[in-house]
Amino acid sequence: MERPIFKPIGSPVEELDTPTVIVDLDILERNISTVASFFKDRKAKLRPRVDLHGCPALAHMQLAASDTVGGVSVATLGQAEAFSGSGINDFSVRGVVVTPQKIARLCALARHAAVTVAVDNPSNVADLSKAAAAAGVQVKVVVAISTKPDRLGVEPGQSAVDLAKAVGDSAGLVFDGFMTIEEKLKVDDVSQLAAESRGWTQRAIDAREAAEAAGVSVNTVSVGGTYNYEIAGATDGVTEIPAGSYALMDAKYRGRRDGLEPAAKIMTTVTSFPEGDKIITDGGNKAVGMDRGNPISVEFPEAKIGLSAEHGNIGLKTPTQKRIKLGDKMWFTPWDMGVTANLYDYMNAVRGGRLEAVWDLPARGRYR
């Protein structure tokens, strides 16, 4: 567990123990409102993807903004269980659930919440049905449509229709529609990524049309994310967008998504200043995260950032003229906040430079 020095509510942010996550509430609220206003009066609705932060307080803020489906999207059953303990009661699991242990957990959760799970395999459908029927619960099932060959899901053609029918014929299961399980691509150009993703959306739409042509009615088509929510959300036949990054935002989207800017940053402390062009901080890879790309320094956005496990290294092109003292704070915007949030047990919610709330992240580390 994190063991920070406690600072009272109302403390100036610079007095907080570092390294730590700081969430600017004003920016967060603007981000949430930007996305909420897009979905206003649309057919497609938002389903906040909350595994990107693991924080029930934040999930409830996202759900309270209008025009969501009323539930959240998670990556694992363990995350759903954690959020279920915090009053969220509608989950869509972006994955398949195949082992007996997990199927038992899924059915137990289905007593307390609406649960949707994906399938891509007929024998899994049989296993789910048997367990759900025995438990006396109903599980909503979507057929996963792969984004390309050799990825999770099935092709949108006959096999998708067959699976849909198999679900529909199974006791304890309710066929709900189709879902793509999209991996974020390393494409810096959001518009290029959006263009590429139209293909994924189209596969889900194709599946919908094939199913409907076969007389199977389709309630849900879930595709896309923060990177393309306006496109996917405006596409006929799409019903929900599992977007999550929009709330805390990532450096990777910085300046590339209108009305959204980074609300979460990591505050670190200068621990060594051995040379004029090199600032060492207490926030290394384990605290700032760089699985998907390097963070951006707020004070020195052009600097080369090196993160060893426990140290941050801000490499300046030329020695700085600023007076740098040990103890000064240096801020970083993580490249991918979803990766970084998973390193912490809590986040500091700050407004106007003062601590306003401390939010626990009970879904952190719930990989099971």
Binding site: T20, D51, R94, N121, P274, K278, K286, G338, G365
Partner: protein, 366 residues
């Protein structure tokens, strides 16, 4: 956080995956190698707990032998966990600079001997002030930069200035010098010895310069897993800060006396084509560093095709077709990040759970 504590004796194939395993036989082997290596040397192991984040694992090495009965930790809060874990001799090879944190370091020195490295005069003065206020003495070592380009003095002269300053101030006790360097990626032991000598030599130059001023240098803390054998043979080095050797990583595979003991157990959840298996964990549970150079055990002929956030895509050469529900193990390329992402190790021996070990220093960023 997760709180998964399967009963002792549970067979692996009944575990709910993914889980972070420790192969206890492999761990015992690694600890025995270190115990043997340092049995008769002056230089001893000071295990680095950043790789394990568990005082129980650190105490196991202390019991096995080869150590100076102490550890080093990356952070102050990690040091607290180790002192609470009964380990009194701790070195923090890192800078502690804010008054809040120095006060906490001072308090910890009532319970143990918790030393810290310095590279800055202002910092030494602040440590002195706070220690005097609290009525304790804090040991300091001069950090020397030999290669890493982060903290550390850049010259023997600067080292001498700081050592003299530490000697002159109340509340601090000058204990020695410390450096960290990276001689990994050198499978050739002779080349590792040459490089270790060269880099650690920079630290020893600072030691010599300080001693030339008549100041005794008690500790020279240098060397890591990749130089653990070499450093023990470099005259003047008193201790080695090895961390990776305990749980090991594929990239240090050339140190073939150690075995990879830290593995992620997963389950195949989908086989979109016969030679593709999709596993139930991904980058969040691993880190880029763990994923790079990772290998797969438990299913033959398998390579890693892609590591997504929450899934891993495996490719089979056809030797053993994937089956939905089958388990596999991932051996990490680089292990260090994983205990910072998981809340429990499941210790297994001969295919069953032997113990569940908490990771209490997970998240100890402070």
């Amino acid at each position: 956080m997760d709180n998964y504590r399967p009963a002792v004796g549970t067979p692996i194939d009944q575990l709910d995956t993914p889980c972070l395993l420790i192969d206890m036989d492999a761990l015992d082997n690694n600890y025995a190698v270190v115990a043997e290596t340092y049995r008769d040397t002056v230089c001893k192991m000071r295990q680095h707990t950043k790789n394990i984040k568990s005082p129980r694992l650190a105490n196991m090495q202390i019991q096995a032998g080869g150590t100076l009965n102490g550890v080093c930790t990356a952070k102050l809060s990690e040091a607290e966990v180790m002192v609470e874990g009964g380990i009194i001799d701790v070195l923090i090879p890192n800078q502690i600079v804010t008054r809040d944190k120095i006060a906490r370091l001072a308090a910890l020195n009532r319970l143990g001997d918790v030393k810290v490295t310095v590279d800055n005069a202002d910092n030494i003065e602040t440590i002195s002030e706070v220690a005097v206020e609290q009525g304790v003495v804090i040991g300091v070592l001069i950090e020397v930069d030999t290669q890493m380009n982060r903290g550390g003095v850049r010259s023997p002269e600067h080292g001498v200035v700081l050592a003299k300053l530490a000697m002159s101030l109340p509340g601090v006790k000058f204990r020695g010098v410390m450096s960290h360097q990276s001689a990994d990626g050198w499978p050739d032991a002779d080349e590792r010895m040459r490089l270790s000598k060269e880099l650690i030599g920079i630290c020893l130059e600072v030691k010599d310069a300080i001693e030339a001023e008549g100041i005794p240098v008690e500790m020279v803390s240098s060397g890591e897993t990749f130089s653990y054998a070499a450093a023990a043979q470099i005259l003047g080095v008193t201790e080695v800060e090895g961390g990776s050797y305990a749980l090991m990583s594929n990239i240090y595979g050339y140190l073939d006396e150690f075995q990879v003991s830290n593995k992620v157990l997963g389950t195949i959840v989908s086989t979109p084509s016969p030679n593709i298996g999709i596993g139930d964990f991904g980058m969040k549970a691993l880190s880029t560093a763990a994923a790079a150079n990772a290998t797969i055990e438990g299913i033959s002929g398998v390579t890693i095709e892609e590591v997504q956030d929450e899934h891993i895509v495996l490719r089979s050469d056809g030797t053993e077709p994937f089956v939905v529900g089958q388990q596999f193990m991932l051996l990490p390329g680089y292990q260090d990040h994983m205990p910072n992402r998981w809340d429990q190790y499941i210790g297994v021996r001969k295919g069953v759970v032997e113990q569940v070990l908490d990771i209490p220093a997970r998240g100890c960023h402070h």
